[in-house]
Amino acid sequence: MLLNVVKSTVLVALASCIMNANDFNVQAEKDRIALIDYTIAKFEDGDKNRDKFFPYSTDDELKNNIQKNVKYEDLRKGNYAFNKQGQYSYNEINEMPPYDELVEKGEELYEDNKALQKCFPDVTVAGDYPYFDEEKKEVVSLTGAINKCLTDAGQKAWNEKKGKMAFFQSYIASETKDAEKKVNIQINSAEAAAAYERGKEFYYTQRGYLKLSCATCHVQGAGKRVRNESLSQLAGHTTHFPVFRLKWGKDKVENGLGTLERRMAGCVKDQGQVPPKTNSKEMKELLYFMAYMSNGMNVDGPDVRK
C-alpha cells in the first residue's frame, strides 16, 4: 500500500515537472500567435481594411504596392512578402546575388579552421540561435558562440557586425536553408522565459529622442511607407540574416554583408538612443524575443535588402 502511494507520488511529481517544463513558453506562444494573426489580418486586404490598418496610405499605395492575402510562409521574406514594387528589384538582384562570393568565403573560413569545425560539426544550425544556456543562465547568440569558439582556441575574436563573422554566418544560414530547417527557439525554464520577457519589453518600449519603439515601425507601422521604404514586419525578421544591404556595400562589397546585431544597433540608433553593445545581455535578449516571433518559419538567409 505504502509502495503504491510512493509510486503514485513520484509519477505525479514527474508528470508535473514535465508539464511545467512545457509551460515555460506558454506566454511566448500566445504572443507569437497573436502577432501572426495581426500580421495576416493586416495584409489580408489593405484597401478593404484601410480604416483599421492603413488610415494614412494613399489609394495608389494600397492598390499598387500592398499585396493582398499574404501567406504565413511568405513572412520570412520581410517586406518583400507584401511590397509589390520592391519585389521586382528584389527578384532581379537575386538572379545574381551579390552575397554569393561572400558565402563562399564563409565556407573557406570554416574549412580552414579546425576550431570552428569542432564547435560547429553541423552547420545547419542557424534556426537554433539564439538559445538560452540553462547552466550559465544567459542567452547565447550565434555571434557570441562563434567568438567564444575562436577565443577558447586561442584565436582573435571577429568583428561582431561584419567581415568574417558575417561571411561565416552567411555560410551557416545558407546550409541551414538548403537543409530546409526552420527557426526553432526553445524556452525551457523560468529564467529563459524571463529573458524572453525582457527582450519583449525592450522591443515594445518607446526609446530615444524620437520616442519610437521597434514596434512603432515593425508591428503597428509594418506596411506603411517611410520616405520610399515600406516598413517590414516583425514576424519573419530574423529568418534571413545575415543580410547584404546595398547601402552597406556601396563602397566595398565585403562590407555589404552584416549580422543581425549590426542591423539592430542601426535601428536603435535610428530611434535616437545609444544602442546596447552587440554582445550585451540586452541585445542578446532582444534577439531571443525576435527570433521566437519567427519560430516555425523556414530559415531563409542570407538575403538582400536595400
Binding site: D31, I33, T205, K211
Partner: protein, 144 residues
C-alpha cells in the same frame, strides 16, 4: 491560546521587518522630473543646467537609455559644451558619428539645454515606458 499569540507576534514582527527593509531599498523614480523647469538656461543659468545634464545623463547611461542624435551621443553634447565654455567659445561644433567636427554648430546655451533635456527625457521616458509598453503588444493591450 498562547500559541496563537506567539504566531500573531511572530507574523507582526516579520511584516514589520519586511516593511522596513522594503523602505530601505526604495529606488528613485524619475517620472516627475520637469525638463522645462530643470533645463531652462534663462532662469537657472548655464552652469546649473549643465550640472543637471551631467547628473541625469550619468544615470541614463547606467540604465542603458542615453540619447543619441545624428551620430552624437548626449555625453558628447555635454563634453563639447564644457570645452566650448572653458575656451570662451559662443558656439558648440557638432560631431559626426566618427567623433569628427562637422560644419554645423549651435549656440552654447542651446547645446547645454538640449543635453539637459535629453538627459532628463531619457529617464522620464524610461519610467513612462515601463507603464505603457504593453499597450503596443498584440494579444496583450493592443487592440485592432
Amino acid at each position: 491560546m498562547k500559541k496563537l499569540y506567539s504566531v500573531i507576534a511572530a507574523t507582526s514582527l516579520a511584516l514589520a521587518i519586511t516593511g522596513c527593509s522594503n523602505n530601505q531599498v526604495t529606488t528613485p523614480t524619475y517620472d516627475n522630473l520637469d525638463e522645462r523647469k530643470l533645463c531652462n538656461v534663462s532662469t537657472n543659468g548655464i552652469d546649473s543646467v549643465l550640472k543637471v545634464a551631467q547628473k541625469y545623463n550619468k544615470i541614463a547611461k547606467e540604465h542603458g537609455v542615453e540619447f543619441k542624435r545624428l551620430g552624437m551621443t548626449n555625453t558628447q553634447y555635454i563634453d563639447e559644451s564644457i570645452k566650448a565654455i572653458k575656451a570662451g567659445e559662443k558656439k558648440v561644433v557638432l560631431l559626426n558619428k566618427k567623433g569628427k567636427p562637422t560644419k554645423n554648430s549651435v549656440s552654447v546655451s542651446y547645446a547645454v539645454e538640449r543635453a539637459c533635456k535629453f538627459a532628463v527625457s531619457a529617464l522620464t521616458q524610461e519610467a513612462e515606458g515601463k507603464k505603457t509598453w504593453r499597450a503596443a503588444v498584440p494579444g496583450d493591450q493592443f487592440q485592432y
